[in-house]
Symmetry: D2
């Protein structure tokens, strides 16, 4: 019942193991491009064991972070768009190798802007779609001029507004228009407020129920939709429950670090997990489940990142970004 959720695999990994320890069935790789401020992290959930430990399905979770720089610099956004394009193409190439999408001919891509356009931190997906250039209606009959990718896009809305599950709407559109691949854009929930607006996650596992800002999804995956789903997300909120949880953890540590209260801190730290869980549940008000925490300048963040992501998709599918740069693997 009680869940401190995060949509970021990189945070889930930290929660499960601490930052440096290994986890069976989960690989972690970090690198930074030469002369770049972007920190890349790849978490691969390799098997069932890893999936169980992480609470996330098998697949690749790639994180692009830029904590230091901030997101004000326009050249920097360009750099992020280019990197996103490179990584999107890599994932598509892998899908071709795996025969999950056709290896030859134009690739039919349906881009989906998840979330509620009228709730600012949930509007990332709809805003990306507002910037997206689609070309499916322009497809030439002439085979020669065939584009590399044929892109369509949809903003399905949220269940409170449509009365339908997003998966239903998408299954219908997929049935009718037969895309090879879905790219789903979504606002994510993070555990840490420092991630808000500074991280992009790209994954080949699609989108799982229960995560994100609203409750607008019901498993958008290759299994549920019949088509591979790449998901691009940016954390824009932290669940209120996460804030409460962090406060309690910090309180316990604080108590343990002071002479007079050390005994209490130690006592609480050494409570069996079940008792800790009990305690936290008592402190969490039921309303907290749906509440979220977000910064006041979230409108600017979402607007800026929506351009970064739409530009990344344009670069990946309409141009041919060169991926000849070396990576430094630390």
């Amino acid at each position: 019942m009680f869940e401190i959720r995060t949509d970021l695999a990189v945070e889930e990994k930290e929660t499960c193991t601490g930052e440096n320890k290994g986890l069976k069935g989960v690989s972690l790789r970090e690198w930074r491009k030469a002369s770049s401020a972007i920190k890349m992290t790849e978490v691969v959930v390799q098997d069932r064991e890893g999936a169980r430990a992480m609470g996330k399905p098998e697949g690749t979770y790639l994180t692009m972070e830029a904590r230091d720089l901030g997101w004000q610099d326009e050249d920097y956004h360009r750099e992020v768009s280019e990197e996103l394009a490179v990584q999107l193409r890599r994932m598509v190439e892998k899908l071709k190798v795996d025969r999950a999408v056709p290896a030859a001919g134009p690739l039919y891509v349906l881009v989906v802007g998840l979330g509620n356009p009228s709730v600012t931190p949930d509007a990332l997906g709809p805003q990306v779609l507002g910037n997206l250039k689609v070309n499916r209606s322009l497809t030439p009959l002439n085979k020669r001029e065939e584009p590399e990718a044929v892109i369509s896009g949809i903003v399905p809305g949220v269940m409170a507004q449509t009365g339908m599950e997003t998966a239903e709407i998408l299954r219908g559109i997929i049935h009718e228009t037969e895309p090879d691949l879905i790219i789903a854009i979504d606002a994510l929930a993070a555990r840490s407020i420092r991630r808000l607006g500074t991280t992009i996650q790209l994954t080949d596992t699609g989108i799982q129920p229960g995560s994100g800002v609203g409750n607008h999804r019901h498993s958008l995956t290759a299994d549920s939709l019949g088509v591979p789903v790449l998901a691009v997300g940016v954390p824009t909120v932290v669940g209120a429950a996460a804030i409460v949880h962090d406060t309690i953890s910090t309180m316990i540590r604080t108590l343990a670090s002071h002479m007079e209260t050390r005994g209490m801190g130690d006592f609480l730290e050494q409570l069996p997990p079940d008792d800790q869980y009990q305690l936290i549940c008592q402190l969490l008000e039921p309303e907290f489940g749906s509440l979220y925490v977000t910064p006041p300048d979230i409108d600017q963040t979402v607007k800026r990142l929506s351009y970064t992501i739409s530009e990344g998709i344009h670069l990946a599918f309409y141009e041919n970004p060169q991926d000849d740069r070396d990576f430094l693997i630390p």
Copy 2:
């Protein structure tokens, strides 16, 4: 090629015949409710002959007009919502009798908000959906508490943004969610600027290609979608070509009514239709086809009417409006 289009059957009827004359295969009925400012007009296209003459498919076109009062009065809007509800229910009852929708059990209705939310006069459909209360996701499992209608809603967007035809998107969603009935809301193009924002048209024929503000539709009818389609529309624009056509007609009449120029007017009036057509085509710049004319306060009109229509749908399906008032048939 050259077409002065109108989405209003009542205007098409006038164009074909003048206001008072009959047209084979087309019936016309007008009435006004006692102590009401709403003028009702029903045009029924009865057979193929009528359809050919009107350029509109067979079916019923109901117009609610309120030229005199204007649309500022809030009680008046309530009255229009109620009348819209009554007429929607009548059309639904007729569909039940015709076995086009199930006669018993809850009626599954998908409301579709056509048009481009970011172009003001085209935003009527999306704005109605913004006000609409859907209940499909709330449907109780318990048969006893079954509502009379189960409503879902979608804003499919326009082809320039989605790369998909609206009909494709809807066919997909219909395939997946199996509604009994579609109600499509759309901004319409009128012939006369006096109609802008003062008329609601309700029809059981769905929506035909080539009409409306943008080019966002490709026949949304029972034939193309497999489900009956009721369409609710309000004219918010007049095509620029219509303005040009009217100017030329007025000019010819003006010339004919003045001593010095009577000869010219007569000459032009007596030109064979083909030559008149030639002349008009020469005067129409090709760019005019897609341009439209709209008043500067269109944002207020669309906002207000979007409430009138969503309220009409709520009254029709969530409440049970009494239709016991008498009509005066003139």
Copy 3:
């Protein structure tokens, strides 16, 4: 430095004294209208001592609450609009008696929609202004047809977008257009998540710095603007710091109520206030100051309440609501 702020006087009162005890210089009155679900609370800060205790300036703070009913019912919203109109008129009458506004002739009112239109929970003010009917540009030259009130309106924006303080913009507009009275509409921060969207506060003290969602204000009061300021606000967010504070308080109480941990809870409860303050400060991350907590359906709440408030203003100034109903004073 550390402040758990609330914009609601009724919450400040509870914090200072608990719900039932008195506070010097502060009067409290509660009532409920016959056959009404609206609970009214009036907090009057009577003198300097009260102002110091409350951290709020002298004046009247009227709260309209509707926790039980919720805000879904449309008739209920009408009732709230009517009550708001009655109370607005009372405050205006008091200003006339006090000679703060002219007693005769039309009253010139400038309605100000504070907040950032692109951040959903901060958009209440701008949305009220989007619904507001202004008549200043329509004022007849003929004295006979003079309206009771001449209303103008402005959405000044937020400092991050304008580079100007709201007070600067308003002082300028007041200097030029010389209104008798300002009515400022704003989204508020509450202490308790149960207040979100269920309470309206009306005050004659204007708006103080440091409160609200963003940082968009710098004292909008009769002192700073030279014109009386009535403020209408609805809490739409809770500061993240308040959530943390509540968690810690609950944790201390929880510890104190369990056998094994009673000693710790007692110990913490009995810490001197300064030490408690120290502890809380250590637990509060600096980023929390600007973060806020808000529910995911905040867009619907803000949209609905913006109509309730604009309608209240219309009723107060364009119609003449009868205030002949009795109040039950418990």
Copy 4:
């Protein structure tokens, strides 16, 4: 009474004289930058005689056109932004030489986004302000780090929403914040539909009453505001009256060019101007005055151009664009 208005001086010039002939008191200069698709036209209204002939006040009207290329290319938009920046700086330099603004120290600039944000073709000004980076609230106290320009911004709204004239609002804000210079951004009305979205006009004369999409202005000039006003505008609509006028003119020419009707055409062409005027007035319906014509993809045009213009302002005032490129004067 009857006026076919255009806000573009370059069109007014054509109307007055035809494209190639001179007009007393009005100078015309055209050039194109080497390897650029931007056509520059400068119309200078030099004296009263020119002003009377043009119906526009004395000053410089600079037009940047790009008919051939269209506005789809992103590099092209960058080029336009840079050229706009260069020309803005020139006009500011001229104002410094003329001592209309201070020659030394930071320049205080208030950018004004005119128009109605909820009517798409009128939303250019508000959308530019949505992209604009202001720095007035960030101004350092330290003289050393003084920026070259201190920018603030305001979206004053339209009279139908505020009940105040834009000039009133601006005079107030100017009185309070004392900027050295106003830059007003506005959607314009053109005579020719080919100008829509393809032309930017920059002028040092401010904005005159009676022009533009809505009726939202009442002379925003150095005279009325007490501060120099640079205006940046893009035509997004053509008045319906202009369409009618063009149709009649074309009709007359068409009649004159055909054997059978040549007599009529000649007759009409040779009518005294007053009679021609009479004829046109009879053909213009009174409602046409406020109606406008606009293309269906106006939302994309306005969105794109709002970035081009905000970027031009950023380049002009926050960076230091080099103006060392040669101009070819044809």
